[in-house]
Symmetry: C2
Subunit: 332 residues, 2 copies
């Protein structure tokens, strides 16, 4: 099957939203996803697409390079989103994180070099590689000093993409995502941002925990994230470049984020706990890998590709809650 | 056997010189070396020490974590020098480079965390992780943008050390070495700096090739490198820090380096070819991973640990040539 676009991690949060968008734009697509329960894949995410003949859902692991040789052979474009995203899991099992976020990325690039060196690659990196900001907002020239194994391995994965673009001419672009949220995210636990577990608890009428509260963050609604990926994929100028994504509007504290989430729930008349969240100190085992305040300077992608986030945090959280409130059972 | 100090890569160039120095200082030592022919190990390097009862020469690979558990258990200090050093080899076989320079480093640290979390670690990193300098001299705050797979993986290895120091309190120091040279280096080929192959050809009466010629470089004589390692190992202040090493005197061009090498040979009355070297253009397959001019700003280690390189390039090359001229057959 000839695919125009491949999405690794296509059954996960961003991947499934991206597939919906690609199909809407007329692409023939393949999803490569390992469906590992601890990661982002969820069959519900792709339910509406599963019988769409323009998408091939291939269950396989990006660590399996022999399958990759077949899957990547004829594609024009790959959105390379598959990864292990949990910071805590990367500290508990650093080798699995290394194998997925570094070794498998190298393997994807080696396969491209051998069987399809003209494939256009968009790689989803993360703001985690900056570590604790030395200044705010953080631009792409900020020092990289990851504070967890996940950040170190994602940095290696990013570097391989830039290197293979430079040395072998495999045209790649790196997007450094910040907290991305929206429908189809994992809310079972906090493996994909803390917002997941907040939303879960809120919708189950249980208080969620806000750790610290004063840390500044920026959030990208998933549709904005996808529009950045589509812009990057169609830009010659973006080849070999790194771009920060950022949040819509001013950065907000965790406490303000919690309050915005509660307001969004109230605007939808969702029944919530009388005391919807609890402020508590940062747990000690998490504190060492906490990055403090963070928000991105995303002027580079704005100037060069014309991207800016359009969906406010309140609007984005409202859409997200609305998505889950009718079908939360599939995401627990 | 209880060892005070462990040297990974102990049969290699810097490792064997370090062992000689450690024994002189009264340490009980273990060397861990895989003796892989393409890397730096050479039995001749350790010949004088092999029957010294204060050194245990353990042949094993740092990728073998089960051996590491035994070997690292009781040590107080580890000089972690084992690595794959060839830039070209890392491009030809990126996975082996990844396994040695990243995965095995993580494995060493995981073993330390489990069996010996108070072990003091000195990690030998490389200037290669900076990539092409944006300014000169390059200080430790310079952006990291490796230009080959080796640089990417060494960066991950370095980052793991800093992370485990920060999060788990395993006291580690990172030294970013520049071109290190001296007795016991690999001269069979250019896998450990181009100086190796230059020295080999010179001593065999064959012209060596100078690629380009105008690139600036700095060189650390191995004794200076070892004194930096010893200073770092005994400094509390050095824990969690990164230090550049640098060269003695002004940076020199490749052409000046070649001329200095020829002068050193002449000062020792070593017979050399009438035209000892040939200037040629940089080969295209190497050009893409060349870093251009480089020399380090090593003021941080000077101020904090009182280190400075003492051996001039002429003096160091003279000592090196003198070492090889009487026993080159063991290094061919």
């Amino acid at each position: 099957m000839v695919s125009n676009a491949i999405v690794t991690g296509g059954c996960g949060f961003i991947g499934s939203n991206l597939l919906l968008d690609l199909v809407r734009r007329g692409f023939t697509c393949s999803s490569i996803d390992s469906m590992i329960p601890e990661y982002g894949a969820n069959l519900k995410n792709i339910e509406s697409m599963i019988h769409n003949s323009s998408i091939n859902f291939n269950i396989s692991d990006i660590r399996d390079s022999s399958s990759l040789q077949w899957l990547l052979k004829d594609a024009q474009l790959i959105f390379n989103l598959a990864g292990q995203t949990s910071h805590m899991d990367s500290m508990k099992d650093p080798f699995t994180d290394l194998d997925i976020n570094a070794r498998a990325q190298l393997s994807i690039l080696e396969v491209c070099r051998k069987v399809n060196p003209r494939i256009r690659i968009i790689f989803a990196s993360t703001r985690q590689i900056y570590g604790r900001p030395h200044y705010l907002p953080v631009d792409e020239a900020h020092l990289l000093r990851p504070v967890d194994v996940n950040g170190i391995n994602k940095l290696a994965g990013e570097n391989y993409h830039l290197l293979y673009s430079e040395v072998y001419g495999i045209p790649s672009t790196v997007l450094r995502l910040t907290n991305t949220y929206g429908p189809r995210m994992r809310i079972r636990d906090s493996r994909q941002t803390f917002l997941g577990i907040w939303i879960r608890n809120l919708l189950l009428g249980k208080p969620f925990e806000v750790w610290g509260g004063s840390q500044l963050r920026d959030y990208t609604y998933v549709d904005d994230c996808i529009s950045a990926m589509q812009l990057a994929a169609t830009s010659e100028q973006a080849i070999g470049q790194i771009y920060n994504l950022g949040g819509c509007g001013e950065p907000v504290t965790l406490l303000q984020t919690a309050e915005t989430l509660v307001s969004a729930a109230r605007s939808l008349d969702i029944p919530i706990a009388s005391k919807p969240f609890i402020l508590r100190d940062y747990p000690s085992e998490h504190k060492k890998i906490d990055i403090g305040d963070y928000y991105a300077d995303y002027r580079k992608i704005s100037h060069e590709l014309g991207w800016k986030p359009e969906v406010s945090l309140f609007e984005g959280l409202t859409r997200t809650l609305s998505f889950y409130s009718s079908q939360i059972e599939h995401y627990l």
